[in-house]
């Protein structure tokens, strides 16, 4: 299997996994789930770090650095805000 085909296979299988894991979620959890998924795509941070490390011109470096800042806000803020939402759910379990 060529490199491109292997990546395509991973992509296709991930689609099915994505569909499967959230297909039976109650509406109560829609907002935290969206927020959690939102945090996960902040992993573009890894891509931003890769391009930044190979940047040679100041334009490339500037754009990559901006991308790292934005991606970090996305991933860190996303997980923190999701945790805050879910903390509320835990509170009501006790009572």
């Amino acid at each position: 299997m060529s490199e491109a085909m292997a990546l395509l296979a991973i992509f296709t299988l991930a689609i099915f996994v994505g569909f499967e894991v959230v297909s039976k979620v109650s509406s109560t959890l829609h907002t935290p789930l969206m927020s959690g998924a939102n945090a996960i795509h902040g992993i573009i941070l890894v891509g931003a770090i890769i391009v930044a490390s190979h940047s040679h011109t100041s334009l490339e470096l500037g754009l990559s650095i901006a991308a790292i800042i934005l991606a970090t806000i996305n991933v860190v803020g996303g997980f923190v805000v999701t945790d805050r939402m879910l903390e509320m759910f835990k509170g009501k379990k006790k009572s």
Binding site: G18, T28, M34, N38, H41, I44, D83, K93
Partner: protein, 463 residues
């Protein structure tokens, strides 16, 4: 780090993301799921510094910049997420999604500059796709943020020739994309980015306030796909898996949300183009309503056997969760059966109201979902609607063509008495008049929800 070890750690991070989404789908495991996702992101970020690529590990001269940028991101992101009020959470999610889309677009622009003549067609296509969709996600999310923060109107904004404009914009995006793909050049790419940003704005402007969460969810899925496309160009398997997971689960989630609101996705996105914006029926016309005092409300509640509280965003805005719980406790102590009827989209987003009430320690058993509470309204003596409007508006059943037509509602009109706590006669978020306010069994108590409830509580105590 050897290539095999690197790939193995990347695989572990991907598995953590899958477990995170799975965990987030069930209330018991949700918090742990989120922690697993954060762990996955942490692992993925650490190992990239030991990336064993052809060009070796990260060159040290950029390392300072990279670590500095991450520090800035943390310093902005964490306090923003910690300090945001729970009522303003939806727009925070929109904003985080927007910056994620922006980051993906920037990464793709750098990738594009670096693409050589030898780049494969698929790599060029994936790069251009990421620039376009990332920019749409960025500007679209900013508009949803402005709408939710009420910095701009929450009504659908319909520009003159809006439909022509958006199709012309779309055609331009596709045309310039083709140009950018054939001749690699930086200036055409910037034109493309500009056109895509404009498209994001035009795409979200016509969406009405109540439908905004659906659009955020859709843009979230879009951003996921851009991350997957970036992963393809950078040959980073983890980005492909994580991005695709978000893209796929986001698509399902968007559909589930649209179903919970009784909307077709197409209608949500293009509704304002295909139907004229509905003027609120009967505005300007003075009609009699029955308004009561806090004491009247207290008496109605005191002699009820069953009370269903229908909380809406107005309750959250007034920070009245604690007061409403105090009142409910008081009624329960008098032997009255109390329940909260929770509409799936009460608040600003599906599940938002559950979060807000949980914050006020409302017992879990009292929160009843719509399907379960609806059959009980006929046996309910008093339905107390606190700061909600659209989710109880019978127009959703009776008036075809109105913006919320088809949305499932809480059938409060079947209960013996209805009490509305409202600030004014102003229509709800969707901007539609509610006929129920003029019903003979309806009593209105005007004022800030918290102030009104406090008065009702003291009246109840003195009874």
């Amino acid at each position: 780090m050897s290539r095999n070890l690197y790939d193995l750690m990347g695989l572990a991070a991907a598995v953590l993301f899958i477990l995170a989404l799975k965990g987030l789908s069930s209330p018991k495991s949700a918090r742990r799921g989120n922690a697993l996702g954060a762990l996955g992101a942490f692992v993925a970020t650490i190992i990239v510094f030991f990336y064993p690529g052809e060009k070796g590990e990260l060159p040290l001269d950029n390392l300072g910049w990279i670590l500095g940028a991450i520090a800035i991101g943390v310093v902005i992101g964490v306090p923003a997420a910690r300090m945001v009020k729970m009522t303003q959470m939806p727009q925070m999610v929109a904003l985080f999604n927007g910056v994620g889309g922006g980051a993906a677009a920037l990464v793709a622009i750098v990738e594009y500059i670096k693409l050589g003549e030898s780049a494969s067609f698929a790599a060029v296509l994936a790069t251009v796709f990421t620039v376009v969709v990332g920019c749409i996600s960025f500007s679209g999310s900013i508009v949803t943020f402005l709408k939710l923060q009420e910095l701009m109107t929450t009504r659908p904004v319909i520009l003159p020739f809006g439909r022509t404009l958006i199709f012309a914009n779309l055609a331009a995006v596709i045309g310039v994309s083709g140009w950018v793909m054939r001749e690699l050049g930086t200036s055409p790419l910037l034109i493309l980015a500009g056109l895509s940003l404009l498209f994001g704005v035009l795409f979200v402007l016509p969406v009405g306030g109540a439908d905004v969460p659906i659009v955020i969810s859709l843009l979230n899925a879009f951003t996921g796909l851009t991350v997957a496309a970036s992963g393809y160009v950078l040959e980073a398997t983890l980005l492909i898996v994580a991005g695709t997971l978000v893209g796929a689960s986001g698509t399902i989630l968007t559909r589930l949300m649209a179903e919970a609101m009784g909307r077709s996705l197409f209608g949500t996105l293009f509704g304002a183009f295909t139907q004229k914006a509905q003027d609120a029926t009967g505005t300007g016309e003075e009609r009699p309503v029955k308004s009561g005092s806090p004491e009247d409300v207290a008496i109605l509640l005191n002699y009820a056997r069953r009370v269903v509280i229908v909380p809406g965003f107005g309750l959250a805005v007034a920070q009245a969760q604690h007061t409403v719980r105090e009142m409910a406790d008081l009624l329960s102590a008098k032997g009255i059966d109390v329940a909260y009827g929770i509409h799936p989209v009460a608040g600003r987003m599906p599940g938002h109201m559950n979060v807000l009430l949980a914050e006020a320690n409302v017992p879990y058993e009292q929160l009843v979902e719509m399907e379960e509470v609806n059959p009980t309204f006929a046996q309910t003596d008093v339905a107390l609607v606190v700061g909600a409007n659209d989710v109880v508006n019978p127009a959703a059943k009776t008036t075809p063509g109105c913006p919320i037509y088809g949305m499932p509602i809480l059938d409060v009109q079947q209960s013996a008495n209805i009490i509305f706590l409202k600030r004014s006669m102003r229509p709800g978020f969707a901007g539609i008049e509610n006929e129920l306010l003029y019903d003979t069994k309806t009593t209105l108590l005007f004022g800030d929800a918290k102030a009104s409830l406090t008065k009702v509580v003291s009246a109840l105590k003195s009874l």
